[in-house]
Amino acid sequence: MSTTHVDAFVDAARDVDAVVTRTDAAGFAAALADSVTTPAVGTPLPFEGISYEGTPVDPEPTGADLAAAATGVTAGQLAVADYGSVILTETGAGEELLGLYPDRHVVVVAASDVVADMPAAFDTLEAPTAGSAIIATGPSATADMGSLVTGVHGPREVAVLLVEDR
């Protein structure tokens, strides 16, 4: 990680209509609470010292919870500074669903996982153990109905929580 990558990511993400909040482990719960609209559901966060404790996020949602949720919270494996993209992976907990169905998607990314560009991102994705991944850049969008509209089959709003000490 370098600060330059993080700054570049924040700028690029803003350009694609993703709101980035920079936080740290200590401030995480408050930042997350600020970032979600309820009801909110989440999948496990694989960062040490970070959890849903003290937030309104349901950490073990059912299908019905997901259907009712306004926000889905998932971890991002990587972020790509050049494009403002986050890379989402599935662990079997339903990350793909939580990042897709609710109107708002909050992605939690460790600042140490911000890479400079696509070649760097693909170096990581290439690992033989890697599974499916989604390179997600901003909210879902379409121009098929005559002008640009955000929020189609996927989320209308995307927020990124960048945990700077992880």
Partner: protein, 732 residues
């Protein structure tokens, strides 16, 4: 289709769909220039993408075996379908075995190619397109007009009217937001009901069985995540060796298509996935504790692709990533869209190669002539496919397949070509334009008077398909070569600093010798010894009609005729940009490599050469004095060769104020604008240029253009004259 029927069809599409198509494609086109312009290493990325595709197609049989193994190791199934019927049969079996009532689809041209929707519907399956553009077309029962944005021929108001009629909402739909919100809800229900999700694939990494899907709406993700059975249908050419090979494509595809740096989602799927299949009614089992029971089928479609792979001329069609850059950068496509400029499934310049391979020559022939060879798409293609060449080859094969018994006695004596009898008479006339011009010049001015009479124009339209509304070129009695032979060089080789062979292209020679005379004066004023070589046509005219053998013969003669000049150390200077372009581009395919390279390296466009002379100490004061306001249109092929800046620089050095046009092509494109079936389209394209040169202070500027065609088009559409730049800068 007859010429008249084709003309009617094009006119009707220009009226009904032209405006919406133009607005959308030109937005994509501008977006592509902007987005690729932001890349530091655009050329290197394109080169890498090209190499990956070349290698992948070369190794295709091995990649097919590899992906079978990797997908099966992941727990999926692979089926290689020989043709569309085979693919349909397999897919119907999978759907039946799953006992599915509903199948949801994300956008896929390959599934259009095999016409799977109709096939499944006949078997009682509800098939829903979830991409909003495709959904609009499903509701409208229409075919895509663009390979990436299928409904661009419809305006928002038309979609609103369609949806209001079909779905009869309480509050009529009006805005794009209304329509999108409705479609999202409506399709969410369909996705919720569906058992099977069908997608295409933009790329497949053979090593890991990873499918790459490039989307923006999220419908492909949802169609896969919400259903337990995933069928992906992809042409075999979508295979690349490894996941790492996807990186340049991920960076290029959105930029090259709709002008987005990247689309909202690039899914890299290694199905079947661990994602729980959601049951939204279940309020007790956490999603994380649901064991998904997912099935995955990859259908790899051949359908003519293996044959295409063995075709030395058309193989590079398989490198196509279906990004749509060649559609959006094409002036004709921008104006008429894929309903005219397309075959059964695929549209645009590269559509010719695809249709030829998957549906056959007849489907390709329907629209192949709409490619004028302007070459604007060549630099836009992210895998560097020579799309005009693909169109030329298909046209040539079409010509050769023409009925040899329909002997065209009328023009046979005028057409000393290498082409088969039965070739379309219109193509034969334009392909042999040099012979006609020679005769016209020899018999001028009588030939001009005769050609301009009503009966002659009627006959030309009836027999040769030359639209009677188009003004014909006037032949000059004294050709440029005859003039120079009498006059000789004014500056001997000993007195001069450089020596050139000034190529007497057919238009300069027979129609506009004043252009040649101006070039001689400009060159001599800048201390150049000028010779006008005794060589004929370049091959451009027959090549544009798909007459490759005739073009080859002419190229051979030009190379032989110019060789002694090159041996004598003379540079070759060319006035007509399309002829310079054939020397620098297509001669690579028509001549031995060393001869091509020598001629290409030593040939210059006239204003490029003047620029070089001025840069090397030439006296700018020897040219005509400047200070005027100019509107300049560079020729399409000249722009592809990146030669426009030289003309602008020379004009600016002379103190002129230069405004340039911002269109891909003037629409005339050699013979295209003369043809009865394409006249309306050519004028529609040309009017965009004419408007730019009429707006605001451009309306008072002196009009300059480099191509013969462009000058003819501008003369027809503007009420002030237009001139070649060299005539403008040459001293009296």
């Amino acid at each position: 289709m007859s010429r008249r029927a084709k003309a009617d069809r094009i006119r009707s599409l220009l009226d009904t769909e032209g405006d919406a198509v133009f607005e959308n494609t030109t937005t994509f086109n501008e977006g592509r220039y902007a987005s690729t312009g932001r890349l530091d290493d655009y050329e290197a990325l394109k080169q890498r993408a090209r190499e990956i595709k070349e290698d992948a197609i070369a190794d295709l049989p091995a990649l097919v075996e590899e992906v079978k193994a990797s997908v099966e190791a992941n727990g999926g199934h692979v089926y290689v379908a020989d043709d569309a019927a085979d693919a349909r049969r397999y897919i119907a079996e999978v759907v039946e075995e799953r006992d599915a009532d509903t199948l949801v689809k994300s956008k896929s041209m390959t599934t259009e190619e095999i016409e799977i929707n109709e096939h499944l519907a006949e078997r009682g399956v509800d098939v829903w397109e979830t991409d909003l553009g495709e959904f609009v077309l499903q509701v409208a029962e229409e075919a895509p007009s663009h390979i990436v944005a299928p409904a661009i021929h419809k305006s928002r108001a038309e979609i609103a009217a369609l949806f209001n009629e079909r779905f009869d909402p309480d509050e009529p739909f009006e805005t794009a937001e209304d329509l999108t919100a409705f479609a999202r809800e409506y399709l969410a229900d369909r996705i919720g009901e569906a058992e099977v999700g069908m997608t295409g694939a933009n790329f497949i990494a053979a090593d890991s069985g990873t499918l790459a899907l490039v989307t923006s709406e999220g419908n492909a993700r949802k169609s896969v995540a919400a259903t337990d059975t995933h069928i992906a249908v992809a042409g075999v050419e979508k295979l690349v060796p490894s996941l790492a090979d996807l990186q340049p494509f991920v960076e290029l595809i959105g930029r090259s298509g709709t002008g987005q740096d990247i689309t909202a989602y690039v899914s890299l799927l290694r199905p079947p996935s661990d994602t729980p299949v959601p049951d939204f009614a279940d309020d007790t089992t956490p999603l994380a504790e649901t064991e998904p029971d997912r099935e995955f089928h990859l259908v790899l479609l051949d359908n003519g692709r293996t044959e295409l792979r063995e075709d030395d001329q058309l193989r590079e069609t398989l490198y196509c990533i279906r990004c749509s850059a060649c559609l959006n950068s094409c002036a004709n496509f921008q104006h008429v869209g894929g309903h005219a400029f397309g075959g059964e499934t695929y549209s645009g310049g590269i559509g010719t190669g695809w249709e030829y391979a998957v549906h056959g020559e007849d489907s390709a022939a329907e629209f192949n002539d709409l490619c004028t060879g302007c070459s604007r798409c060549v630099e836009q293609c992210p895998v560097k496919i020579d799309i005009p060449w693909i169109n030329t080859v298909v046209r040539d094969r079409r010509n050769r397949g023409a009925d040899p018994d329909s002997f065209d006695f009328l023009v046979d004596g005028l057409t000393p070509d290498e082409e088969p009898a039965g070739l379309d008479i219109q193509k034969r006339v334009f392909g042999n334009i040099g012979t006609a011009a020679k005769l016209g010049s020899a018999t001028a001015p009588v030939s001009n008077w005769l050609a301009d009479t009503a009966p002659a124009r009627w006959a030309l339209e009836r027999v040769a398909g030359i639209d009677r509304r188009r003004e014909l070129p006037t032949f000059s009695r004294e050709s440029f070569r005859e003039w120079f032979a009498d006059r000789g060089p004014a500056l001997s080789a000993d007195e001069a600093t450089r020596a050139v062979a000034l190529y007497p292209d057919v238009y300069t020679n027979y129609v506009s010798p004043e252009r040649g005379r101006a070039a001689v004066r400009a060159l001599e004023a800048l201390d150049v010894h000028v010779r006008v070589p005794d060589v004929g046509e370049s091959g451009r005219a027959p090549l544009s009609q798909g007459m490759i053998s005739t073009a080859e013969r002419q190229a051979r003669a030009v190379a032989d005729g110019l060789e002694p000049h090159l041996d004598a150390g003379r540079d070759v200077v060319v006035i007509e940009p399309s002829d310079l372009a054939i020397f620098r581009r297509e001669y690579e395919r028509l001549l031995p490599e060393d001869e091509f390279a020598r001629l290409a390296d030593n040939s210059y466009e006239i204003m490029e050469y003047v620029y070089g002379l001025l840069e090397n100490g030439g006296d700018v004061g020897a040219l005509a004095a400047g200070g005027d306001a100019i509107a300049y249109h560079a020729h399409c092929q000249q722009r592809t060769l990146e030669l426009e800046p030289y003309t602008v620089a020379v004009l600016e050095r002379l103190g002129h104020d230069v405004a340039t046009s911002d269109v891909e092509c003037c629409g005339m494109a050699g013979s295209f604008g003369y043809k009865r079936e394409y006249y309306d389209l050519a004028v529609d394209v040309g009017e965009e240029l004419a408007e730019q040169f009429s707006e605001g202070d451009n309306g008072d500027r002196t009009v300059l253009a480099s191509g013969t065609s462009c000058l003819e088009q501008l003369d027809d559409l503007l009420d002030r004259p237009s001139t070649h730049p060299v005539e403008f800068v040459a001293p009296e």
